[in-house]
Symmetry: C2
C-alpha cells in the first residue's frame, strides 16, 4: 500500500489520480453482447429469457413457470433456517424498517398563496420495482433487506427480485429466499444478467415490467441498465465497494486496519484508503493490516485490493484530513478521531459516515439501519443512499383562482411574447374572457367581454 504525504510537492497530482477512480465504462464487447440480449428479450419475451438463462446460467428450467418463486417458497425457506439465522434476519429487517420509517418526504405541502391560488407538490410511491440480487454461488441476503424494505416502507405494491440460480442445482439459496420472506418481496425470478434487466424493463408474460430497477450486478448487468435507462428508471451504476478511514492519533490501529480489510476482502477492485494525521498512525495501521491479513480467509482478495487500489495518506491535521475525505467522496467514511460527530457538519460528500471507535463499517452493511446501497466511485458528489425517496416520486399540483389568473396574466403575456408562443398567451386569455367556475358553454354568453392584454 502506497504512503503519500500531503506535504510532498507532487501530492496534489497523485491525490487527484486516487480520487479519479471511476465506475468503469462499459467495454464495447460487453455493451454489444448486452444490447443483443436486451433486444432479443424485448422482442421474443419468455422464449428468449429461457434460452439465455439456459445458455448463460447453465441450468435447465423446464419452462418459464419454473423461473418464478413466490411467498410459499419464501416461507418454506424461512422455516428451514436455524433459529439464529432467522433471528439475525429479523433483527436486521426490524432495524432497517425502523430507520427508513423515519424518513421525511420531499414535498411542498399544499398551500394557498396570497392571490388565492392553491399550490403544492405531493408524493406517491412507484407502482412496481425490480431488485437485482447477485447470485450464483454467492449469496447476499442483506442486499434483499436493504432494498426491499425501503421499497415497502415507500408504499410500493409490487416488489419483485431477480437473482441467478446456482448453475448446478438451479436453486436460489435459502438465506436469500428467507430474506424475501422477511422483507415482503412479491416474487423472485431465477434469472440474472442482461436478460433479467431486459425482462424487468420491458416485461414478458412471466416477468412484470417495472418502473425502476435497483441493485448491483456484473458488467453485463451494468451495461444493460444503461441501455434501458429512460424506459425505466435505474438507481445507479454501482462500482466496486470502497472505504476511506480517517484516523487521528487517538485511533486504534487495529480498528482502522480491520475496517480497511473488511472493504478490501469484497473484491480485488475494492478501494480502501487511509487518511491519517500522523505518519506514526499510518505506519501502525499498515502494520496491523499486515498482521490481520495473515489469518484472513479472503486474504488473497484483500491483498490484491490493497496493493493495486489502496493508499495511505498522511495529512497535516484533522481539518486537512476532512477536506481530503470530502474530496474523495467515499461510499463509506469511517471517522476514528476525537470529536468524530463534530466533523459531520464539515462533510457533504460521503455515502454513509461511521463515527467513532464503536462503529465498524460492517454494522452498516447489516444491521445499523440505513440501507447499505450507497453511491460508489466518487458519485457521492451527487448521488444519495438508497432510501424511501428512491421509490417515491413527486407531482406538482396547481389550482389558480380567478384573482390569481387575472393578476398573473400580464407576466404570462410578456414572457410568452419573449418566447414567441402566442398559443400559450391565448390559453390564458380565453379564460379571462369567460366567467370563473364550472360553467357550461352556454353560460359563457353572460360572461364579460373578452379582455386582451397589451
Amino acid at each position: 500500500m502506497r504512503i503519500l504525504s500531503s506535504v510532498e510537492p507532487d501530492f496534489p497530482e497523485r491525490w487527484a489520480r486516487i480520487c479519479a477512480r471511476g465506475s468503469e465504462e462499459d467495454e464495447a464487447g460487453v455493451r454489444e453482447a448486452a444490447a443483443r440480449i436486451v433486444a432479443d428479450v424485448r422482442s421474443r419475451g419468455d422464449a428468449a429469457l429461457l434460452e439465455h438463462t439456459r445458455r448463460l446460467d447453465g441450468w435447465q428450467p423446464a419452462g418459464a413457470g419454473a423461473l418464478a418463486l413466490g411467498p410459499g417458497e419464501f416461507a418454506r425457506a424461512w422455516r428451514g433456517l436455524p433459529a439464529p439465522a432467522r433471528k439475525a434476519l429479523s433483527v436486521a429487517a426490524r432495524r432497517i424498517e425502523a430507520f427508513h420509517q423515519r424518513e421525511t418526504d420531499a414535498v411542498v405541502p399544499l398551500y394557498r398563496d396570497p392571490l388565492g391560488a392553491r399550490l403544492g407538490q405531493v408524493s406517491r410511491p412507484l407502482a412496481r420495482v425490480g431488485l437485482y440480487v447477485p447470485g450464483g454461488t454467492a449469496r447476499y441476503p442483506s442486499s434483499v433487506l436493504m432494498m426491499a424494505i425501503p421499497a415497502r416502507v415507500a408504499g410500493v405494491k409490487t416488489v419483485v427480485a431477480v437473482s441467478p440460480a446456482d448453475r448446478a442445482t438451479g436453486e436460489v439459496d435459502a438465506w436469500t429466499l428467507a430474506a424475501c420472506h422477511v422483507s415482503g418481496v412479491s416474487r423472485l425470478f431465477k434469472i440474472g444478467g442482461a436478460q433479467a434487466i431486459a425482462a424487468l424493463a420491458f416485461g414478458t408474460p412471466t416477468v412484470p415490467a417495472v418502473d425502476k430497477i435497483c441493485g448491483p450486478g456484473n458488467a453485463y448487468v451494468a451495461a444493460a441498465k444503461r441501455l434501458v435507462f429512460g424506459h425505466v428508471d435505474i438507481d445507479m451504476i454501482a462500482g466496486p465497494s470502497e472505504v476511506l478511514v480517517l484516523a487521528d492519533a487517538s485511533a486504534r490501529p487495529a480498528e482502522a486496519a480491520a475496517d480497511l480489510l473488511a472493504q478490501a476482502e469484497h473484491d480485488p477492485r475494492a478501494v480502501a484508503v487511509l487518511v491519517a494525521t500522523t505518519e506514526r498512525t499510518a505506519r501502525q495501521v499498515l502494520a496491523e493490516a499486515e498482521r490481520q491479513l495473515a489469518s484472513l480467509p479472503r486474504a488473497d482478495v484483500a491483498r490484491r485490493s490493497l496493493e493495486e487500489r489502496g493508499a495511505a495518506v498522511i495529512a497535516r491535521n484533522v481539518a486537512e484530513a476532512v477536506r481530503l475525505a470530502d474530496e474523495f467522496a467515499p461510499e463509506h467514511l469511517v471517522v476514528l478521531a476525537k470529536g468524530a460527530s463534530g466533523i459531520v457538519p464539515k462533510l457533504s460528500r460521503a455515502g454513509a459516515v461511521f463515527l467513532g471507535s464503536r462503529t465498524p463499517e460492517a454494522v452498516g452493511d447489516y444491521v445499523a439501519g440505513p440501507s447499505h446501497v450507497l453511491p460508489t466511485a466518487g458519485t457521492a458528489r451527487f448521488d444519495s443512499p438508497l432510501s424511501v425517496a428512491t421509490f417515491r416520486r413527486r407531482m406538482s399540483v396547481v389550482e389558480m383562482s380567478p384573482r390569481a389568473l387575472a393578476a398573473l396574466a400580464p407576466a404570462v403575456e410578456a414572457l410568452t411574447a419573449a418566447e414567441g408562443l402566442e398559443g400559450h398567451a391565448r390559453a390564458v386569455r380565453v379564460r379571462l374572457a369567460a366567467p370563473p367556475g364550472g360553467a357550461t358553454r352556454s353560460a359563457r354568453r353572460g360572461g364579460r367581454a373578452r379582455r386582451r392584454r397589451p
Copy 2:
C-alpha cells in the same frame, strides 16, 4: 386528430400504442458524433471547445475567454430590458422562489435508538451544477428561472449555464441574460451541443466541471448526456413536451382546445391528447381547436403535432378518464371537470396537474411557481419535477454505542457467516475486545478479554 372510444374492441391495443410514445433512443450516427466530440473536449479542453463552437455554432469567438459571461453582462442586459419585461421576470422569479422555499427535505432527522445508537440521514446541496439552456435563434428565459432558482434555493454555490449563441452575432439574447441576473446564475458560457455537455462534465480551464447537468437540448445534447451519465449526474433525457386534457361535460371546449394547442405549438413532435367523457365534448373541443388554429401564428407546427401525434379518446365516465390519464403518465395533466381537486388523490403519474377552468397549463410554464422542468414520454411513472431535491443529496450518519455494538454483534456474525465475509465480522470483534471511548492504543491493555461469538 383521431377519435377513439374506450368501448371499441380494439381500444386497449390502440391506447397502449398511444401510451407507448417513448423518448426517442439515440440514433447511431448522432451517438457516434456526440461521442467523438465528448472525447475530444475531454482530452483537449478549451481548444476543442473553441473548434467545435466555431464549426457548429457558426460564429467566431476570439478565444476561450470570449465564451464566458458573468454578473456584469447579466446586470447590463437586465437594465436594458423595458420595465414590463423586468416586471414579468421578477414576478415569475419571486413565485418560483416562494414555491420551492416551501419544499421539505427527504431526510431522517438524527435520533438515538433504544440501544443508544445515533442514526440519521442529513441533506446537503450539490457544490456545482450546470444548466443547459437551448439558444441560437430561440430564447427560453423561463427555463433559466425554472432551473436556476430551485438550485439556488437548494444552496448550490456555483450555478453555471450554457447556451449556444446566435450564429450571426455571437450573442446570447438579453432576456436570457436578464433571467440569469434575476435568478443568480454565476456564469453563462456561450456554448451548446455535445461540446457544452462534455465541458460541464469534465471541465476545461474555462468551464468548471459540475456535479450535475440539467436541462433539455437537441439530439446531440441528449446523446452526450447519456454518455457522461455516471461521471456526473444528469436530470433526465427530455422528450417532446406533452399534455393530456381530461374534460367532462362541464368543460368549456374553448379552454380545452386552447390548452391542446398551447402544447402542440411547441414542436411537431409535441403530444396533445384529449380524454373526454362524452362524444359531444370531444367533437366540440376538436371543432374549437380547428377554429383557433386558423389564427394561430405557429399553426403549421401545431397542426402537424395534432395530426401526427394527437389523439382524442372518449371514456365511459370520469373514473375511467382518470385511470387512462394515470396510465398515460403525462408531463402536463389539465383537469377540466367538476370536482377537479377531488381527483388528485386518484392520480400518481403526472408531472404536474392543473386543476379547473382557471388554470391553463401556460401559467405553469411561467409563473405558477413549481418548476416547469417535468418528466416527459411516460417517465412520470418514475421521475419527478425538477425541484430543490434535484440539487441536494443525502448522507447517512451512524454512531453506535458500546451497548448497541454488543447487542447487534450476534446478528452481524450470523449474516457475515452467511455471506462468507469473515473480515466484516472481525471488524466488529476487534472493537468488542477493546474498551469504548477515544482511548489510545496503550489503553487497550486494560480492556476485557476478546470475546468471540459462536
